[in-house]
């Protein structure tokens, strides 16, 4: 035989998936929400923010890898995905340079300093957001109303926090107004519409087997249960579970950020613990913490607990179950 054959260890077939394909799926899943977000907040400015966040991520990843003499990996789409998630976590009316800087911070501080994709302990997009939030609190809390595009710093969560902090209860006019949150009647909020866009995206990812149901279900479920308990105890002080679910970044966090492969547990049981931790921390931070919104912090906190969770949830190996039959 003249022909040289390939020799390799089994298996000789592959399911066909690649990391890049999965990243692309995540980006597709985010598209409905991205389009809705750009359209609702005035097209031009949010579009620029989105574009520059992505550009910041991709450019800094390429530049870092070039300097370090590593293979350039921006083709795998993970940097672009980080950029999109970062933009969705910023006010759509952010200044352009903030989007760019956030992208750089997300990739450099959140990912590359740890060794690049697969080695970062924290979700890069949330690191980018946190850097921006600490650095530019004024700009990061100046939101825009959907459709009317009126500039405000009042997100529904901060309104509630403020009112409860001052008077110990949610005033009635605010209580009534909170209903409109579902239709995007508040700063930075798209309400139910984006909730469904994210839900659809999340379902697509589960269908494509990019993510499993464990984290979203336990995240949303635990947030729902905990907020319902508080609401039943004192509905004048604690807002309703529906309000919690459709405000802030809960849906985005549950489907797209708490499900980040790299920074979350690998065992199904660990995923359930992770999601539940995120949900509980989110509600606790929202109700009792210093910040009005807790999704980002709860995910980052649970990210840091991931190695411990993984260690504690090593599955019971086959052959240890007591005999039956």
């Amino acid at each position: 035989m003249d022909k040289t054959l390939y020799i390799s260890s089994s298996p000789h077939v592959h399911e066909g998936g690649t990391t890049a394909k999965a990243m692309r799926d995540v980006i597709y899943a985010l598209l409905p929400c991205v389009v809705l977000w750009i359209y609702s907040f005035g097209v031009v400015q949010p579009f620029i923010v989105m574009l520059l966040a992505i550009a910041g991520c991709m450019a800094s990843e390429a530049a870092w890898e070039k300097v370090r003499g590593l293979p350039i990996t921006i083709g795998d789409g993970s940097a672009a995905m980080t950029g999109i998630l970062l933009a969705l976590n910023m006010p759509p009316n952010s200044p352009w340079w903030m989007a760019l800087l956030g992208g750089v911070a997300a990739i450099v501080i959140g990912k590359q300093v740890f060794g690049g994709l697969g080695y970062n302990p924290f979700n890069p997009a949330l690191i980018g957001r946190t850097v921006l939030l600490i650095s530019f609190p004024v700009q990061m809390t100046t939101w825009m109303m959907p459709r009317t595009h009126e500039i405000t710093s009042a997100t529904p969560l901060s309104e509630v926090k403020m009112a409860v902090g001052l008077t110990g209860a949610i005033p009635e006019e605010l209580q009534a107004q909170l209903g409109s949150v579902l239709f995007g009647g508040f700063g930075g909020q798209l309400g139910v519409l984006s909730g469904f866009a994210l839900l659809a995206g999340g379902c697509y990812l589960i269908y494509r087997k990019v993510i499993t149901w464990h984290i979203p279900v336990s995240f949303i479920g635990s947030a729902l249960v905990l907020s319902t308990i508080f609401w039943l105890v004192n509905s004048s002080k604690y807002p309703s579970p529906v309000f919690h679910l459709f405000t802030g970044g809960l849906m985005l966090g549950a489907f797209f950020m708490a499900t980040d492969w790299v920074t979350t547990p690998i065992t199904p049981k660990g995923m359930l613990i992770f999601g539940a931790g995120c949900g509980i921390l989110t509600i606790l931070i929202r109700l009792f913490g210093g910040y009005p919104e807790g999704v980002a912090f709860s995910i980052l906190l649970m990210n840091s607990a991931t190695p411990v969770i993984d260690r504690l949830t090593v599955p019971k190996k086959f052959g240890l179950v007591t005999q039956k039959g």
Partner: protein, 440 residues
């Protein structure tokens, strides 16, 4: 009917349609063809040649004797002249001892072979016949069958499990055997039942072979053999997973099937046992599927042990297109062959010819901790964590993470989006752990 299955695993496209409707054909042997019979075709000590160059042998004549308990004899697959007793190229690409026979075209049987009625034999006599016929596990693992049929006195065997799962993609040899020779299999099963003294026997067949399920169910009716339909899921045919699916029992970690009262035999092995006991025919032939995108006409063949793979392929119309890889066995667990010139062995359940385009060349990326391997692993271990530690040389930690429980099914590597050859690291870890245990 609810299909039984195990936990974990995955479902690769089975690609069986290419050959599952093809009746078994005999791969012809012409005068002058050389058969290279390797002396190490089974797990355990290699056999020792008992013929020399220039000897004339008859079909079925003993040409190599076993060395030790876990070893089997080897027989001449046809009549002819021994032209060489020397190392020849084996599957792994290394030269291994072999007896080369030049066929005389007569295919004349050795006269001394004689069948017997199993009813008149004691279990020990049956076992001796099985060993003397050189029967090994026909699923591909080639473990000497008489060893498996000799559980220690204190192990009570409740179930005989027959493996007709054939969960490997492409392969249809067992499927065809079940359809074409159900009686041969069933009689073999009855013999094994007698040897082991068990009441219950179950044949496990995957649901993608409905014709085989139907046929076997009908044929087994009233003969003390059940047929269990199984969900199509890889690795359904792995011993431990098959036992779990059919009986709900788990083989204890580090133990053997007999530790939970089961013995597993391949359906092909059952047929071979029947041939050996009833007719005195040693293991010199087997059924193999020749398939894959780079073969002209996929077929199921009855081949002689020692025929070069090239002959098999030639009979199937030769290579089609751009050949990239040759696999002996299935695509999930089979071995890549260095060339088509190597001989078929007792473990050759299939010969798969992959085109250049089917060869996996995607470079390895960093682990992104997606957890796919964890969910796919039927042994419930953490492949990526073990592989990571093995690569860092942390063998003790790999051992603590149950690396030894890996059954090397390849599911983790099949599903890994980062294309990390996890199973190689797992094999490395197992090797290192065994070496370490020996040292202690």
């Amino acid at each position: 009917m609810e299909l039984k299955t195990f936990k974990g695993g995955l479902h690769p496209p089975d690609n069986k349609a290419w050959s599952e409707k093809k009746a078994i054909e005999v791969c012809p042997l012409a005068e002058g063809d050389e058969l290279v019979v390797l002396l190490s075709q089974h797990i355990g000590a290699p056999a020792e040649a008992c013929v020399k160059k220039g000897d004339t042998v008859k079909k079925g004549q003993l040409i190599a004797t076993p060395k030790g308990f876990v070893s089997v004899p080897i027989h001449a697959p046809t009549s002819g002249e021994v032209v060489a007793v020397e190392p020849r190229l084996g599957t792994a690409g290394t030269r291994v001892p072999a007896v080369v026979i030049k066929a005389d075209g007569q295919d004349a049987w050795d006269d001394s072979l004689a069948g017997a009625d199993p009813d008149t034999l004691t279990p020990q006599e049956i076992k001796d016949r099985i060993r003397d016929a050189g029967i090994v596990g026909m699923g591909g693992a080639t473990f000497p069958t008489h060893v498996k049929l000799s559980p220690p006195e204190d192990k009570k065997i409740d179930y005989l499990i027959l493996n007709g799962v054939e969960c490997e993609p492409y392969l249809t040899a067992d499927h065809r055997l079940m359809i074409e020779e159900p009686e041969n299999i069933i009689e073999g099963i009855l013999i094994i039942k007698k040897v082991l003294g068990v009441e219950k026997a179950i044949i496990g067949i995957e649901a993608n072979k409905p014709d085989a399920i139907d046929l076997m169910t009908k044929a087994c009716a009233g003969r003390g053999i059940e047929v269990g339909a199984l969900k199509v899921q890889y690795p359904q045919g792995a011993e431990k997973q098959l036992i779990y699916a059919l009986t709900g029992r788990e083989v204890p970690s580090g133990g053997l099937p007999m530790d939970c009262g089961c013995v597993v035999q391949n359906v092909g092995t059952a047929a071979a046992i029947n041939d050996a006991v009833r007719r005195g025919i040693p293991l010199i032939e087997r059924i193999a599927t020749v398939s894959g995108s780079a073969v002209a006409e996929p077929k199921n063949l009855r081949i002689k042990i020692g025929q070069p793979l090239s002959k098999l392929v030639e009979y199937c119309g030769g290579v089609k297109g751009d050949l990239g890889k040759v696999i002996q066995g299935g695509p999930m667990m089979g071995m890549a062959a260095v060339s088509l010139d190597i001989p078929a062995t007792r473990g050759t359940s299939g010969v798969l010819l992959f085109s250049e385009g089917q060869v996996l060349k995607e470079p390895e990326g960093p682990c992104v901790r997606c957890g796919n391997c964890v969910r796919a692993c039927p042994a419930f271990i953490l492949p990526t964590e073990i592989a990571f530690r093995t690569r860092k040389g942390l063998i003790d930690e790999a051992e603590k993470l149950n690396a030894m429980d890996c059954i090397e099914c390849g599911s983790c590597t099949y599903i890994c989006p980062a294309r990390i050859p996890l199973i190689q690291s797992l094999r490395q870890a197992k090797g290192a752990i065994i070496a370490k245990r020996r040292k202690v």
